[in-house]
């Protein structure tokens, strides 16, 4: 257990060294936050109460979305990107020599990254947003606890998906198609292009059942207290997808390490 903690801490430190990159990223998230606020204010002005959100919910959604984008890794993350690259190049062989579990090793690396980005790239835009707009914040310690759990589970769900995509390189040599597909699905179903509550009819129902909903829409709804079935069922929904994805990831890991010949012979 200690070794995985050590990996996570070092990953956290590694990401904290890219200072200017982090600052310019947080700046970009903030600019997008303001742009989206302008759009959503107009939308909720035309249709007050759209999707069960009031205008303040919608604005809070914007800043949480911008804050979660990088930590959760909606568009992929450096860590799992590197994992995919190592599978492609064959360097993964080095990882397999290590007396650690491949899945847990990369999960620790990813969690270290996510925690750093959560603090800086999540915190900075939210702070600016809260300064300018009247945003909603959880009122009770219990809600804060649920939010923390929801965000953590969201990162796990996202990691599960990204890990599977990265490991697909064991079987298909050109994983770019797979990565693009993952990107499209994640952008559409996570609530990145529009809150899922605005999706009409059946598209909305389908979107809310996908694992991508668990990476962004669900944790934000926990924050807002707007989950249709309550916070408890939201957390269970995330847990369900984590079980499925991590079991799948574990299965893929064991099949890959047993059968596949590493590229390069």
């Amino acid at each position: 257990m200690g070794v995985y903690w050590a990996i996570a801490v070092r990953s956290f430190r590694r990401f904290s060294t890219y200072r200017i990159a982090t600052a310019s990223g947080a700046f970009t998230n903030t600019v997008f936050g303001f742009i989206l606020c302008g759009i959503y204010l107009t939308l909720w002005h035309e249709r007050p109460g759209l999707g069960g959100y009031d205008a303040s919910d919608a604005l809070t959604f914007v800043w949480l979305q911008q804050g979660l984008l990088m930590p959760v890794g909606i568009w992929g993350a450096t860590t799992t990107g590197e994992l995919g690259e190592r599978v492609r190049s064959g360097e993964i062989a080095v990882d397999l020599y290590r007396p650690t579990h491949l899945l847990l090793w990369w999960l620790s690396v990813d969690l270290g990254r996510a925690m750093f980005q959560l603090v800086v790239r999540g915190g900075a835009p939210l702070l600016v947003g809260a300064f300018v707009f009247d945003l909603k914040f959880p009122s009770s310690p219990l809600t804060w606890l649920a939010v923390a759990a929801g965000v953590f589970l969201a990162i796990l769900v996202s990691f599960g998906i990204r890990y599977l995509v990265a490991l697909s390189g064991f079987w298909i040599t050109d994983t770019r198609g797979m990565e693009q597909l993952a990107l499209v699905l994640s952008t559409f179903f996570s609530g990145m292009i529009l809150p899922l509550v605005v999706f009409p009819g059946a598209i909305g129902d389908i979107a809310r059942a996908t694992p991508w909903a668990a990476t962004m829409q669900v944790p934000i709804d926990i924050w807002l207290g707007r989950n249709p079935g309550g916070t408890g069922s939201a957390l269970l929904f995330q847990l369900g997808w984590i079980v499925v994805l991590l079991l799948g990831a574990q299965l893929v890991t064991s099949v890959a390490t047993r059968k596949v010949v590493i590229q390069g012979g």
Binding site: Y18, R19, I20, A21, S24, G25, F27, T28, V31, F32, I35, L36, G38, I39, L41, T42, L43, E46, R47, L50, D174, R176, G177, Q180, L181, L183, V184, T187, F188, I193, L194, V198, F199, P200, I203
Partner: protein, 271 residues
């Protein structure tokens, strides 16, 4: 100087042809990548369509009018991204020291940086924008004259040039701050997101800012207002949409100064 400028197009063409040939080595893969690029970049329009399942007008714009705003924003950014987008990787090259290679080859460093890793699949963005534009014009009742046609084409070129200049300005800033590649995204991709919507919804201050400070409003908003016979905000004259080419020239001058300044103060990484 004049000779260098005259030579530039053929040099740029040679560089990008090299990359196009390499991407065409796997045609099936290329077609798939082009298609997925179209699907990924059309998402913003899908969001607008989903919004219009609940509303009938956004900031005084109908769905067809929104489609035209979206298409022109996406097309201009798409063309700029295709032709100059690679320049945002200059910081990476400076950090790793590979930028030096560009300085000793007999082609301007600017051309090499913009052509670096030229990805023809980025044609996906302007292509889907073209489809949306056809949809928009089929639903809009535009009183077409030769003058309007020229305004549309010229402003699309000018808009692409403005976005291209912003890409170059962002890259020039990376000579000062090597890891700041993402900063330019605020103005390029952020600018695209913003100009997909009627700018007045962002408030008067923002309209002023994107008219007089970062002239994003000239990329598509003012030309589209002119095409649709809509009044310009802030009491500006309706012919302001015709000024896009002028704004593009100013932006190119600024970008060129910034790039030269950056290049002049460039010190290679040393150990």
């Amino acid at each position: 100087m004049v000779e260098r400028v005259l030579r530039a197009p053929s040099q740029y063409w040679m560089l990008i042809m090299m990359w196009i040939r390499s991407s065409m080595a796997y045609p099936a893969s290329f077609v798939l990548m082009l298609f997925s690029s179209m699907v990924l970049t059309v998402m913003d329009f899908v969001a607008i369509v989903l919004m219009f399942s609940h509303i009938s007008s956004f900031g005084g714009f109908s769905l067809a009018e929104m489609a035209l705003l979206y298409a022109t924003a996406s097309m201009t950014l798409g063309i700029a991204d295709l032709l100059t987008g690679s320049i945002e990787r200059v910081g990476e090259r400076i950090r790793t020291g590979t930028f030096d290679v560009y300085l000793i080859r007999p082609v301007p460093a600017f051309l090499q940086t913009t052509a670096d890793g030229f990805a023809l699949r980025r044609l996906g963005r302007p292509l889907q924008a073209l489809v949306v534009m056809v949809f928009a014009f089929s639903r809009l009742d535009v009183d077409w004259t030769v003058a309007r046609g020229i305004v549309l084409v010229v402003s699309m070129i000018a808009g692409s040039v403005i976005f291209g200049a912003i890409f170059v300005l962002g890259a020039a800033f990376q000579f000062l701050a090597v890891d700041s590649a993402e900063l330019a995204n605020s103005f390029t991709y952020g600018g695209q997101t913003m100009t997909q919507y009627p700018l007045t919804v962002f408030g008067k201050e923002i309209v002023r800012a994107v008219t007089f400070v970062v002239p994003l409003a000239f990329v598509n908003y003012y030309p589209v207002l002119y095409l649709l016979d809509k009044p310009a905000p802030l009491g500006l004259p309706s012919w302001i949409g015709l000024l896009s080419p002028l704004v593009a020239v100013v932006m190119v001058a600024l970008a060129s100064l910034a790039w030269r300044g950056g290049l002049r103060r460039y010190r290679s990484t040393g150990s």
